[in-house]
């Protein structure tokens, strides 16, 4: 099976004045469609940098980054946004919803970026919000939503345009345990029911059960992890808040 994201011998070095700070040092990683990869490690270990490199937001200093087979290292700065737009959906720790737009408009904006506008965009936005059971909040402003609801809107927004890769940065950090698990259940379903490749950066050990693989990072490198060896796929828990089962994205 072709990997959705393939990272080979990637390095990333930040230059801070005269000194150089290595953030990634020869990282290799494949993420396949239909799996949830949890990216874990201490602060400063390079998780977010790796997520940024995989998301074509940061350029690697050296190495190869392929997204659905496309070598992004050779693409120009102007070409990278179109890779993000077409292949990748992002979910952020702080939700990053646009506060002056309604829930529906937040999703419509993501669709607008992909060239879907007007009635078609409204219909699609409502469908995506339906996937996270928030279509009834279409005209609500983010400030009137709970943290969990905001993150579910962010997930719906990330699904706009049906990207094959979902990159999530600490999606449960701002949520209570129950809500966090619900969001992770959504991530899990996206991978297992809809074949998306999902990468989640997390410190939250409560969500380990939703990952198919744990990739542990330290000092810019992927290191063997005890949890990874012990990792087993655990079915979604019955007490977790559930969203509509039939994801059609």
């Amino acid at each position: 099976m072709q990997s959705a994201i393939s990272v080979r011998n990637v390095t990333k070095t930040y230059e801070e004045g005269a000194s150089k700070v290595p953030a990634l040092q020869g990282v290799d990683l494949d993420v396949f469609p239909g799996e949830v990869v949890l990216l874990m490690g201490p602060s400063g270990s390079g998780k977010t940098t790796l997520l940024s490199v995989m998301g074509c937001i940061l350029r690697a200093t050296s190495g190869s980054v392929r997204v659905n087979g496309i070598e992004t290292a050779r693409l120009s700065e102007k070409e990278l946004p179109s890779i993000r737009l077409e292949h990748i959906g992002f979910v952020f720790q702080g939700f990053n919803l646009f506060p002056t737009l309604t829930v529906g408009e937040n999703v419509e904006l993501a669709l607008d970026l992909k060239g879907v506008r007007g009635e078609k965009a409204k219909k699609e936005a409502r469908r995506l919000l339906g996937l996270v059971a928030l279509d009834q909040k279409y005209n609500t402003f983010p400030s009137d939503l709970s943290g969990g609801q905001k993150q579910r809107v962010a997930v719906a927004r990330a699904l706009a345009g049906s990207p094959s890769v979902i990159l999530a940065d600490e999606p449960t950090a701002a949520l209570d345990g129950h809500t966090g698990r619900a969001v992770m259940q959504t991530m899990h379903d996206l991978a297992h029911k809809h074949g998306r490749a999902v990468v989640v950066v997390t410190h939250d050990s409560r969500v380990l059960e939703f990952g198919d693989r744990i990739v542990h990072m330290e000092d810019g490198r992927i290191v063997p992890s005890r949890q990874e060896a012990e990792m087993v796929r655990i079915p979604p828990m019955a007490e977790v808040e559930t969203f509509p089962a039939a994801y059609q994205a």
């Binding site: 937001i57 946004p81 720790q93």
Partner: protein, 357 residues
């Protein structure tokens, strides 16, 4: 908040520029509102208030010059007004012939121009009523020991020196400013239709000695230049206008920049979602244009009140249409320029910030 900053800036610019325009227009309003093509003045007269007497027989030389349609004597000079209660006030006496079609007051709101033909009759502007101690039409006063009577009021004829204009007949004015019966300060000339003003000016210069012959524009410009640049008052107003403009530009730039920076995270999110720089430029520029248009609209409403209120005050704030249009484009330019500065910041966003909580 953004709108408040833009409105404040535009109103500030309107007030400062409006004062400057008001000042400029007021200094030469008598010349500009007098429908004479040419002004004959004593040699070396630098501005209207500085006219020196010369023999009025030159009027006949002017009238005998081919191309002259109308020529009339005129006076503009400082004098002292003594109110009924004995208080004194400096005024500028404007003497003209009420029978003629040249010179005289405009915007008459009480009385009639023909009433000026009555003995000792004058008209003053209503904004100076209190200053001159005039409570009603028919009020008596003295100038240079001669009696006068107010027969009408004008509106909006203010003198930049704050010394009120007193319109009266040429004969009265001669008495009020104490020049000889056979003297005048100006001769106002209108060219016959089809006669080129510059040609007539040249002919008059050939015929007349010891006087200058100036076109209306030349004399107006000289007067404005004198008050603008020779006196400290003009420079002060000019500097205030420039400062108002600079402060306005800075406030708008700062406001737009701060607004964009307030939303930097949202722009970062847009970039992460795959928005190209072009898309983000469009968003920022559109926001700036909307801010400029809304800010301008609100500012113009506020300015209209200020301009209206200034009409009854000591200093005129004018907002002519070309200035209003110019300020619209200035507001647009300020907002878009400030947006362009913030665009640079947005396009150089550290992508990692998007992933921080």
């Amino acid at each position: 908040m953004t709108l408040t900053g833009i409105v404040f800036s535009i109103v500030l610019i309107v007030v400062e520029l409006g004062l400057f325009v008001g000042f400029t227009v007021t200094t030469s309003s008598i010349i500009d509102r007098t429908n004479a093509d040419l002004w004959v003045v004593s040699r070396g007269t630098p501005y209207i208030e500085q006219g020196a007497p010369f023999p009025e027989r030159k009027l006949y030389q002017v009238l005998a010059t081919p191309g002259v349609a109308v020529a009339e004597k005129g006076i503009v000079r400082f004098a002292y007004w003594k109110a009924a209660d004995g208080s004194e006030q400096s005024v500028q006496v404007v003497g003209f012939d009420p029978h003629s079609q040249i010179g005289g007051p405009w915007n008459i709101v009480a009385g009639d121009i023909q009433e000026l033909q009555k003995p000792d009759a004058v008209m003053v502007d209503e904004i100076y009523r209190q200053k001159l101690g005039v409570t009603r039409l028919g009020e008596l006063f003295e100038i240079a020991g001669y009696r006068g009577r107010v027969v009408g009021f004008t509106r909006g004829i203010r003198a930049f020196t704050t010394t009120p204009y007193v319109f009266t007949t040429f004969k009265n004015a001669q008495n009020y400013v104490r020049i000889g019966d056979d003297q005048t300060l100006f001769i106002l000339v209108r060219a016959q239709p089809g006669t080129k003003v510059e040609d007539l000016q040249a002919r008059l210069r050939e015929r007349l000695t010891d006087v200058d012959v100036l076109t209306k524009d030349q004399f107006s410009r000289m007067t404005r230049f004198y008050w603008m640049f020779t006196t400290g008052a003009g420079i002060a107003v000019l500097i205030a206008a420039v400062l108002g403009l600079v402060v306005g530009v800075v406030v708008v730039a700062q406001t737009i920049y701060a607004t964009t920076m307030d939303h930097i995270r949202e722009f970062g999110t847009l970039k992460a979602m795959g928005a190209g720089n072009g898309y983000i430029y469009r968003v920022i520029i559109t926001q700036a244009v909307i801010s400029a248009v809304l800010g301008y609209a609100v500012a113009m409403i506020v300015s209209a009140f200020i301009v209206h209120a200034s009409q009854s005050g000591g200093a005129a704030i004018l907002l002519p249409l070309p200035m209003a249009v110019g300020i619209f484009f200035l507001a647009l330019l300020m907002c878009v320029s400030a947006a362009v500065v913030s665009i640079k910041k947005v396009t150089h966003l550290d992508p990692a910030m998007v992933f921080k909580g």
